[in-house]
């Protein structure tokens, strides 16, 4: 039996959705702190532009496209879940996971190339920030893909359909973080 507390909604907003928003609030300040530190230091070190020349903007752009597309399928999954079609929602979530895996595969290839050219995390502080920020983001992609697997499994069996929306909110956040990372690490030369 679920606690009565979990069935109440004094604000009118479902508890799960509230919790996800608070989770994202805590994430915003984590990435905010990291990117704020990066920005402050980058402004004081114009020579980092030389290091930034070696990031591959085309790979970054491709990954941006992949991630945005996966957010689109997450929205479609939410729409299907709203209509109560768990099987369709699960299928669309699996597509989203596919997007996450593509993103990670491209990222691995990119990092492999960079590391083999000597641009490691200790090469200089630009590369330290590059790997730390993108790495923290990639961890969020991995975590999101794993949780999405569980949500898709439940949705396929018609259970906990509201979670499709929650994981979708999280996924958009992961997307938005990348939208900040891409110009800061790739476009700004």
């Amino acid at each position: 039996m679920k606690p009565i507390a979990t069935t109440r909604s004094a604000t009118g907003v479902p508890t799960g959705r509230l919790a996800v928003w608070w989770l994202l609030a805590s994430e915003v300040v984590i990435f905010g702190g990291l990117l704020g530190s990066y920005l402050m230091m980058r402004l004081g070190h114009p020579e980092w532009a030389d290091a930034a020349m070696h990031t591959n903007t085309w790979i970054g752009a491709t990954n941006t496209f992949v991630l945005l597309t996966s957010s689109f399928t997450a929205v479609l999954a939410h729409q299907a879940a709203e209509k109560g079609d768990g099987k369709k929602a699960a299928g669309l979530l699996v597509l989203t996971i596919g997007g996450a895996l593509t993103f990670l595969a491209i990222k691995s290839f990119e990092w492999y190339t960079e590391i083999s050219h000597g641009y490691t995390i200790t090469a200089n502080n630009f590369w330290s920030f590059y790997y730390t920020a993108a790495g923290l983001h990639a961890l969020h992609v991995i975590a999101g893909a794993i949780i999405m697997g569980f949500v898709a499994w439940d949705a396929f069996r018609g259970r906990e359909l509201q979670r499709v929306e929650l994981i979708g909110i999280y996924w958009h956040f992961v997307d938005v973080v990348w939208i900040f990372l891409f110009p800061l690490l790739y476009i700004a030369k």
Binding site: T15, S26, G33, T132
Partner: protein, 572 residues
């Protein structure tokens, strides 16, 4: 048996397990009941407090009697001394003040005070404690690894903390950092739970201004924690990479910036003061309203002031860095914001004093603790003015004046506030009254020696005694007989205070074994937790008797009523 029947039986079994929880010892280790988790946090916090107190005893002995073989520890080496002071600070803030004030009382009180049967995420709540326990074990383990525990102060400034060759505790410093990071994760999970529970699971009829202030304060503290800790989590990852991978985020020789850590740390570190202060103030105001038999003077003012304090607390952090080479114009700005934040804090204290005015005061043990909180915290607040002004701070920085100042804030918060809450809610938690005479002996035996510890340290600090020095005999101007006298007074007072804690533990056990039965509402209080049995059963109230709320939490001495209290759940 068909598949459906098996599934049905399985579901029934689940429902059964969910209702009664696991049995036996597992009931206490694997429970999702908010009260059990609160107890887990409480007892872990008390255990860590004993360790933190023991550390204080060892290094105070070394300071008063340098080179002595400390009974129960032995000779203190410089490295051990550094590890002891560092971990004393870390433990008392992250493993005592936070788990007891925020997690233990937050877990215990929030669902009971808002008339719910549990948190909205009971399993995340359990996970939060398990991560917290792991973090405590990692921290304690870090004291025994090769090289010893981390000794670079609880602020962990780089480059000392970042480079193993400087701090000579390569493994200890990384484990210390990992332990703190795990603790943050535990409190983020717990905090999200507190906030959403308060927002969504209130009893029917309970509006925002009907929530007891202590529940509000713990939730506002959780929000402050959540919004301030993020940059430090990012900073901690960077520090960990500096320590283990050899990056140079904080290494000036490689284009890094050690001051960046100070900004990230204090952007969290200063709001953290309010994260633990607010629950303590909430506890105080609840106890004072009950034992003054008076409505809180200015409930809404108190709430808005708290929010103002929280907002302001994000704009004062650089007052910790006046001597770190920040721009003097910047220092002026932070001086102004720091002096500004004393306005809402003073307002909170004035509201409490106004609540006392004209009340019919009952001087029970919890009331004594609550009053002592105000008196002692006031000294901490007033001495903070000296340190917030950048001119005075340049002289006082890193002296014992600073140390005495923040002990006059943190001791009332973490120790006096916790004792106030513990003695006030003990009857609810364990169903027995505590012994009042023993409680008062313990109270005076704690509060008087506390002042004898830290007033001498103010004097020593004004005399120029620098912090983080292992043996003052090497500094002729700090090794005079007068200064040693003051150091010895502080150490003897600490020994007296620690001895009196035995009275507390004795009182707990004695009262728990054969104290007087408490009944539901021994203090004639209004809030919802007093409307159920003591201790409350699993689910807090029978399902068909979940409370409804008809009024605010502080309706004492209402003129139209014969009784001088009016429980929140009583229909008019």
């Amino acid at each position: 048996m068909s598949d459906t029947a098996v599934a049905l039986q399985h579901d029934e079994h689940d429902a059964h397990a969910g209702h009664h929880g696991p049995q036996g010892i597992l009931k206490y280790l694997w429970s999702t009941d908010h009260k059990v988790i609160a107890m887990q946090y409480l007892f872990t916090g008390m255990f860590m407090a004993v360790i933190g107190g023991f550390m204080a005893y060892v290094f105070r002995m070394q300071l008063a009697f340098p080179g002595i073989s400390v009974p129960g520890f032995g000779q203190v080496s410089p490295g051990e001394y550094n590890a002891l002071v560092t971990n004393h600070g870390t433990i008392m803030i992250f493993w005592v003040a936070m788990p007891v004030l925020v997690a233990a009382f937050g877990n215990y009180l929030i669902p009971l005070m808002i008339g719910a049967d549990d948190m909205v995420f009971p399993r995340i709540n359990r996970l939060s404690y398990q991560i917290f326990l792991l973090s405590a074990l990692v921290l304690l383990g870090s004291l025994f690894v090769q090289g010893g525990g981390f000794g670079g102060a609880w602020t962990s400034y780089p480059p000392l903390s970042a480079v193993g060759a400087y701090n000579q505790t390569q493994l200890g410093s990384s484990l210390w950092l990992i332990a703190v990071a795990l603790e943050f994760v535990a409190f983020l999970l717990g905090g999200i739970n507190f906030i959403t529970t308060l927002m969504n699971s209130r009893a029917p009829g309970m509006k925002a201004y009907d929530i007891p202030l202590v529940a509000w304060m713990i939730v506002i503290a959780s929000i402050l924690f959540m919004l301030s800790v993020g940059p430090l989590i990012a900073g901690a990852v960077m520090l960990l990479f500096d320590q283990t991978l050899g990056t140079g985020f904080y290494d000036p020789a490689r284009g890094g910036d050690p001051i960046l850590w100070q900004h990230l740390f204090w952007f969290f570190g200063h709001p953290e003061v309010y994260v633990v202060l607010l629950p303590a103030i909430g506890i105080t105001i609840d106890i004072i309203a009950t034992f003054a038999r008076k409505k809180v003077f200015g409930y809404k003012m108190m709430l808005y002031t708290t929010v103002a304090t929280g907002v302001l607390s994000f704009f004062v952090w650089a007052h910790h860095q006046f001597v770190a080479g920040i721009d003097p114009r910047m220092a002026n700005v932070f001086t102004v914001t720091t002096l500004l934040i004393s306005v809402p804090i003073a307002e909170l204290l004035f509201v409490i004093i106004a609540t006392l005015y004209g009340g019919s005061i009952r001087l029970t043990t919890p009331m004594l603790w609550a009053l002592a909180f105000m008196a002692e915290f006031l000294i901490g607040g007033v001495t903070g003015i000296f340190l917030g002004a950048s001119g005075a701070d340049i002289y006082f920085h890193d002296t014992y004046f600073v140390l005495a100042h923040f002990h006059y804030t943190f001791f009332p918060i973490a120790i006096i506030g916790s004792f106030a809450a513990f003695t006030y809610w003990f009857p609810k938690m364990f169903g027995k009254m505590m012994d009042e005479r023993l409680g008062k002996i313990h109270f005076w035996g704690t509060v008087i020696p506390f002042n004898f510890i830290f007033i001498p340290l103010f004097v020593l600090g004004m005399g120029g005694q620098h912090r983080r020095i292992y043996n003052y005999q090497h500094f002729p101007e700090l090794a005079s007989a007068e200064m040693y006298n003051l150091r010895e007074i502080a150490t003897y007072a600490l020994l007296v205070m620690l001895t009196f804690q035995l009275v507390f533990f004795f009182n707990c056990i004695k009262s728990w074994m054969n104290g007087k039965a408490a009944g539901r509402n021994p203090w004639q209080s209004n809030t919802l937790e007093w409307t159920t049995e003591s201790p409350p059963p699993h689910g807090n109230w029978p399902v068909d008797e979940m409370p409804n709320v008809y009024r605010g939490p502080y309706e004492y001495a209402h003129p139209d009523r014969e009784e001088d209290y009016w429980p929140q759940n009583e229909p008019s």
